[in-house]
Amino acid sequence: MSAITNPLSETTTAWKLPYRGNVGMACLIFAESAIFMIFVVAYLFYVGKSLTGPTPREVLETPIFYTICLLSSSLAIHFAGKLLERGRRGAFLTLLLLTIVLGALFLYGTGQEWHRLIYGRGLTISTNLFGTTYYSLVGLHATHVIVGLVMLSIVLVFGIAGRVGPEQSARIDVLSLYWHFVDAVWVVVFTVVYVLGR
């Protein structure tokens, strides 16, 4: 059979398919969105159904500052990627570091709020339905922030070691896609917990 060549070879035409990293990350984001959707549905379903206090209205404070931190970190990673593409490694590393700092600040904010709720207001995951749904939804998001921070830090370490160049910018784009997703989910969580849920 090897003697027969393909009668209609098309090797001359250009053949370009999407980058597998982006496709894989997009699929992961769909899966994660489905997971978050279930938690959001549970949160909304149980709003106002707690048999005992405290209620969201009594104890929640809107974390405006930390939200601004997280959302602006999305801009930072976006421009970091652009700078890497143009080969400006130093500026890339600076913005990457800024992203990590802003993400860590957000995480600190979540931690502080939890500390205040647990020790100040006596709200734990087993106190009432609000506690159960609040800690699991916000905690799920915080877990994703931590995973993102770990990945960003790995890139930072490699970057400081001088191993990240423009040839990796497609991979950095995949990571930044994940980080944008984490931010976008926070917009949903914020709306559900601090706006609709009160």
């Binding site: 090897s2 027969i4 035409t13």
Partner: protein, 557 residues
């Protein structure tokens, strides 16, 4: 094209120690080896879950039987259901997809080979966790061992009060872990099919097998993820004192039902769409005709995938939803019948006027067509809300979904096993044993599951431990159990055929069926690198073009 082999040093292949071979298999990232691992893993659990089914059937063979205790009986049906769905059918479908998709689309491997291996080992760990519960489920309370809450684990059965010890936790963890594995493989399949196709393999020229597995992978992502979320909630309830499904604190047991069936119903289609994929490859080859209505096939499958996400509550008609919800879910359930009917019509259209060869794989596919039709019709019956109120939770339901899974999915799977066995092993299977397997299994299947509808109509509830004599159920249950044993013998014939043919079968050659997709262009078994040079395709049947340069398909497509 791609038939020139690359010389690879195989001099030391013969005299290597077995540890080295084992190490190679454990650390492999090759999609073909992982595919085989998935399939063998699933076959192992098929035998385990089959034995559990046998225990259930022996217990029900006559009234007032006490072959096993009620506690063991509960564990058996829970483990049988959980194992069959999560550790038999999903892994075996992933196994075939893993093995065949890269070969069919002319790729070197999956998009993320290491993720592929990671996903397999996660799934494997899930199965081990589930069965470790027999040893570790006792926990501190000395109560129970394996999970006994039914495969859908309705609240409040899973709450600490009713499920002490760790048996339900093993169930949760097993499904959580294997769920991550499934999502990983689904992501991998989509990325492979979208990004790794060989030049010329446009979406419109892709084999239907790849198309249908693409849709299946998309459904896995949308269906397994909610299950994962629900399992996390259950773990929060059981370990951190949460109240998601705790009615004492205002939680809702119904919410668990919704979450479970949002996963549970699309899951059925996750299992059956790969079965459709097998049929769409096997029927054309043995009818000697290209598939009838290729674009409609793709469209109908996408339509099934979409509709299947909006039918879940037809499992919940009896919990008392309002009439609008009942109406909505009844209508969407009926609507799934339309694209499914289109597909059956297209397979018949493919066979119509073809020169049909009744080889073993084709026999199983033809069996599928009849049985899946009947399974679909009883599905329509159960989708009718008032009818469902009467029969929900009866053996009629059990008969219905076993008709789908055994009569449909398993028959297609057997067809796939026989069809690709020569490619995977390089040997032909024994046709006589194959035909014996088919007829034995067909008789056993119909004896079991045709008859099983009737005790359901007579009011026999599912999951019942034993029953009173004199209700007209005795003879029927005896027949059902006899049928189960006939099926068991047929499975033994199948396994014997696989094993004997592996050692004694005649050499298959590259293309024993004179088929048309790319996997048949490489040697059997395929070399590690798949294709020596990257193939280029110009039509849906690249091997037809290769064999018939005077009249290629690409002229008409």
């Amino acid at each position: 094209m791609s038939t020139d082999a690359i010389a690879i040093q195989t001099a030391d292949a013969a005299g290597r120690p077995w540890v080295e071979t084992l190490h190679e298999w454990v650390t492999t990232v090759d999609h073909k080896r992982l595919g085989i691992l998935y399939i063998l893993y699933a076959l192992f659990f098929l035998v385990v879950a089959g034995l559990e089914a046998t225990i259930i059937r022996i217990q029900l063979i006559r009234p007032h039987n006490d072959f096993v205790s009620p506690q063991v009986f509960n564990r058996m049906f829970t483990m049988h259901g959980t194992t069959m769905i999560f550790f038999v059918v999903i892994p075996v479908m992933f196994g075939f997809a893993n093995y065949l998709v890269p070969l069919m689309i002319g790729a070197r491997d999956m998009a993320f080979p290491r993720l592929n291996a990671f996903s397999f080992w996660l799934t494997a760990l899930g199965g081990i966790l589930l069965y470790f519960s027999f040893l570790g489920g006792n926990g501190l309370y000395g109560a129970g061992n394996a999970p006994d809450v039914g495969w859908w684990a309705y609240a409040p059965l899973t709450s600490r009060a009713f499920s002490p010890g760790h048996s339900s936790d093993y169930w949760t963890l097993a499904l959580l872990v294997s769920g991550f594995g499934s999502i990983g493989t689904a992501i991998n399949l989509i990325a492979t099919i979208v990004s790794m196709r060989c030049p010329g393999m446009t979406l419109g020229r892709m084999p239907l097998f790849a198309w249908l597995n693409l849709i299946m992978a998309g459904m896995v992502i949308l269906a397994i993820a909610p299950l994962t979320a629900a399992q996390v909630m259950l773990a929060v309830d059981r370990y951190l004192g949460g109240h998601f499904f705790d009615t004492q604190a205002g939680g809702s047991a119904t919410l668990w039902m919704h979450f479970f069936w949002i996963f549970g119903h699309p899951e059925v289609y996750v299992l059956v769409v790969p079965a459709f994929a097998f049929l769409s490859e096997i029927i054309p080859v043995f009818s000697r005709k290209p598939i009838f209505g290729y674009p409609v096939m793709v469209g109908a499958t996408a339509c099934i995938g979409f509709l299947s996400l909006s039918v879940w509550a037809h499992h919940m008609f009896t919990i008392g939803m309002n009439s609008y919800a009942n109406g909505f879910f009844a209508i969407t359930t009926f609507a799934v019948g339309i694209p499914t009917g289109i597909k059956i019509f297209n397979w018949l259209g493919t066979m119509w006027g073809g020169r049909i060869q009744f080889k073993t794989p084709m026999l199983f596919c033809i069996g599928f067509l009849f049985q899946f039709l009947i399974a679909g019709l009883t599905g329509i019956m159960l989708g009718t809300a008032p009818f469902n109120w009467q029969l929900s939770g009866s053996y009629f339901v059990v008969a219905h979904f076993h008709y789908v899974i055994v009569g449909g999915i398993l028959f297609a799977l057997f067809g796939a096993f026989y069809f690709w066995y020569p490619k995977i092993t390089g040997r032909m299977f024994n046709e006589t044993l194959g035909k014996l397997h088919f007829w034995l299994f067909l008789i056993g299947f119909h004896l079991t599951f045709d008859v099983m509808h009737i005790p359901g109509l007579l009011g026999m509830p599912r999951r019942i431990y034993t029953y009173e004599p004199g209700r007209g159920w005795e003879t029927l249950n005896l027949l059902v159990t006899i049928g189960a044993f006939v099926q068991g013998i047929a499975i033994l014939v199948f396994v014997a055929n696989l094993v004997i043919s592996y050692f004694k079968g005649t050499k298959a050659g590259n293309d024993p069926w004179d088929a048309w997709t790319l996997e048949w262009s490489v040697s059997s078994p395929p070399p590690a690198y798949n294709f020596a040079s990257v193939p280029t395709v110009a039509s849906r049947r690249p091997l037809w073009d290769l064999k018939h340069p005077e009249d290629p398909d690409s002229r008409y497509e």
